[in-house]
Subunit: 438 residues, 2 copies
């Protein structure tokens, strides 16, 4: 391709962190993008909310607009790049863009997780494509890897660190011994956490991304509310220390496993065996482990957020649209299809794992016996147990932690046992229970 | 896609480890492949050398042939999958297949490294495509990641473990303390090394893969002989132990770095800082680290060889051809182009690195002073130095190892210094010099 074909015109919805990165690559690297896509790619418009805000980016002032109609009604614009986020009015804009014959590139995981079916149906109706490489794990080309590179496989399982905020906080707790609140404050100070970090630390953002991965890898159409999730905000520094002592790192994982019991999906802080690639992912980085029936174990790692890493994924999608690959992939993959056969979800009666449990117990004889008896009654056996001498400095009668690692156990049985244990008068609820990945 | 379109017919050249894996996936997973590619994919022929050899694979006897003409002249066959290896007669078969309008999927790294320009010119002449995901790092979709997923980036550097045999041997030397010869024997016993392992352990196979990666990431057309390479066969167990002591693992790396000095390419055992993802890749696994100007650091990991992992990559390419993506990518990427602008290669005058050096020296006063003087004369400064007491068991007058880690040094200066040091009468050549990656 010589780049001398007609040009392609892009309209950007949003000019924040990611949008300005996209504009920067498309403008500063215009020659490279034209060489790789075969056509010149122009940014004609960028939609913003506040036109007065100073924007040091590369886009000239006259291309910035607050009027979405100016972009959606412009017949020259054939690709809409959505990097504004949010559900409303974003969904309406994209439905309209598709109806007007424009292809959509989006980084919006919440929108796909909640409205994937509606958006993809609209794209099929109007013969357009939606690409979304930037919506999961930023710069890591994981959407393409699962959808194309591993297309010969049935994915059997995946485990992913896809929230950089949580991984930064957990790394700071592990390496620097900071308690949760201080680690969060440090993440906010360094720009790795929002002022309101709720959707990150409670696991919602990770669940959005897992909903997208589940669609890609298993054809499973799930909404976020169907994914059991647990955040990192209840973890104590002690849990991190015990995990370290047992040979594990604690990571907030998006987990998916396909078995005869169905598809198991969950988001939860999880003990990951040290020395395995996932355990060593630190700071704001993201990583995805994918196990396929032919390829075996694979692992993908990179920056999950940030202006240029995320823009790298968005621009790769734009190139795919311009070349024509995006349309072919969109039709072949048939994602969020109304007539797809979504696998059934596994119930907690069928899920089996090893578990880490931390109880706060009264420091007196017989407590360990009482707890092990309840576990035994539910068919759960203990693999290791830690209780440290609280030392002379500890006030008398203050509860002390007891940590148990179980052998493989049925989750429903463990939940029943924990409910019973939390009712013992020598136990101070709530107890913490985390899954273990070897 | 409903899989009810006309079928696509594949001819396999080769039915060894990889070929039988490809046949197995295409036959056993026919429904999956048809769903993902939109058409049924049939294997009509497989070319073998010895038709008498028992083949427990899934392919019926009547589809196995020793006559390549039966495949190449069959107009029903539209995709040739080359998994026979070798340069001749493979090159002729593929040139003829392309001339007859067939698309080519190949796993043959040596052929691409040595004859990429000829093959790709032929494909362009006849409007066909060549795909080669399986040629580098087996099951890891790295060709697609660099060519498409990271297409918004200028790759600035890459470091890859792409020879499972060498990585298995180095892991066995590190973890089990086996000397090189025993580690190699163990690799052969477990099927991770060929009876004649020369092309693996001397770095040639890694150089073939680096030539392909250099084409993909930098548009650099190089043949294997242009890539400086050093094998693992001269490494002593002591080198591994010293590296461990200094905080490094020794890995056979394919290295590429783009700088103002040009493109630096090399294959060499290299000290890799422990705790970084590459250092933790063990056994027969492969991994590729890619640094892009937008995306930053990325890392891809998986099985680099074996029947099904490699077949996973081959079948992904077949799906790409059937969907039509392969043709679009082939034209857009314009690889091994006769009018491409290959970057110039950096000379050793311009290459700078930190280096590990091991000298065998006479155990007597003044030797360290003599060696440091030579290094100092060439502007090379020492970062750390190890010499262990040889102990009373060591025979008197036997040479003892001296290990030096340098600060950043110009390679040409170090080579000159080492030449001078090897001539000192207190030094027993040859000395070992390895690069260091932080």
């Amino acid at each position: 391709m010589d780049g001398t074909g007609t040009s392609v015109t892009v309209g950007l919805l949003g000019l924040g962190t990611v949008g300005s990165g996209v504009a920067r690559i498309l403008l500063d690297q215009a020659e490279r993008i034209s060489r790789r896509s075969g056509r010149r790619v122009d940014v004609k418009w960028a939609l913003v909310r506040d036109p007065e805000r100073p924007r040091p980016g590369p886009l000239p002032f006259e291309r910035i607009t607050t009027d979405v109609g100016q972009i959606l009604d412009d017949p020259e614009v054939t690709i809409i790049v959505e990097v504004m986020g949010g559900i409303r009015p974003t969904l309406d804009y994209l439905l309209e863009a598709l109806a007007k014959g424009k292809d959509v590139v989006t980084a919006n995981k919440a929108l796909l997780a909640e409205h994937g079916t509606e958006l993809f149906a609209q794209a099929r109706r109007f013969g357009r494509s939606i690409t979304f490489e930037a919506s999961v794990a930023g710069g890591i080309p994981i959407v393409q890897a699962i959808g194309q590179g591993l297309a010969a496989n049935q994915v059997q399982g995946l485990a992913a660190i896809v929230n950089g905020t949580c991984n930064f906080i957990l790394t700071a707790m592990t390496r620097d011994g900071l308690p949760y609140a201080q680690a969060l404050a440090k993440a906010q100070e360094l720009g790795y956490a929002e002022a309101d970090p709720t959707l990150d630390v409670d696991g919602t953002d990770t669940a959005h991304k897992l909903a997208i991965l589940a669609q890609l890898a298993f054809g499973a159409t799930v909404v976020t509310s169907q994914i059991p999730r647990q955040g990192i905000d209840r973890l104590l520094l002690a849990d991190i220390a015990y995990a370290t002592e047992l040979g594990y790192a604690v990571k907030l994982l998006a987990l998916a496993k396909l078995s005869s019991a169905g598809l198991e999906l969950r988001v939860a802080p999880t003990l990951v065996r040290r020395g395995t690639p996932l355990a060593e992912v630190s700071g704001p980085y993201n990583a995805v482990r994918v196990v396929g029936d032919a390829v075996g174990d694979t692992f993908f790692y990179g920056q999950g957020a940030g202006s240029l890493p995320t823009a790298s994924a968005v621009v790769a999608d734009i190139i795919d649209v311009v070349i024509g690959r995006a349309g072919l992939s969109f039709r072949a993959m048939n994602l969020w299809s109304e007539n797809g056969s979504s696998p059934r979800l596994a119930s907690s009666e069928q899920v089996r794992s090893r578990y880490y449990n931390r109880f706060m117990i009264a420091d007196r004889p017989g407590v360990i016996a009482a707890i092990s008896r309840v576990l035994g009654d539910h068919g759960i056996s203990i693999a290791s147990l830690i209780q440290h001498d609280p030392g002379d400095d500890s006030p008398p009668d203050s509860p002390v932690p007891l940590v148990l690692l179980t052998h493989l156990a049925v989750e429903a049985h463990l939940i029943a046992a924990l409910r019973e244990i939390d009712r013992l008068d020598v136990v101070h609820p709530p107890s913490i229970c985390l899954g273990v990945e070897e």
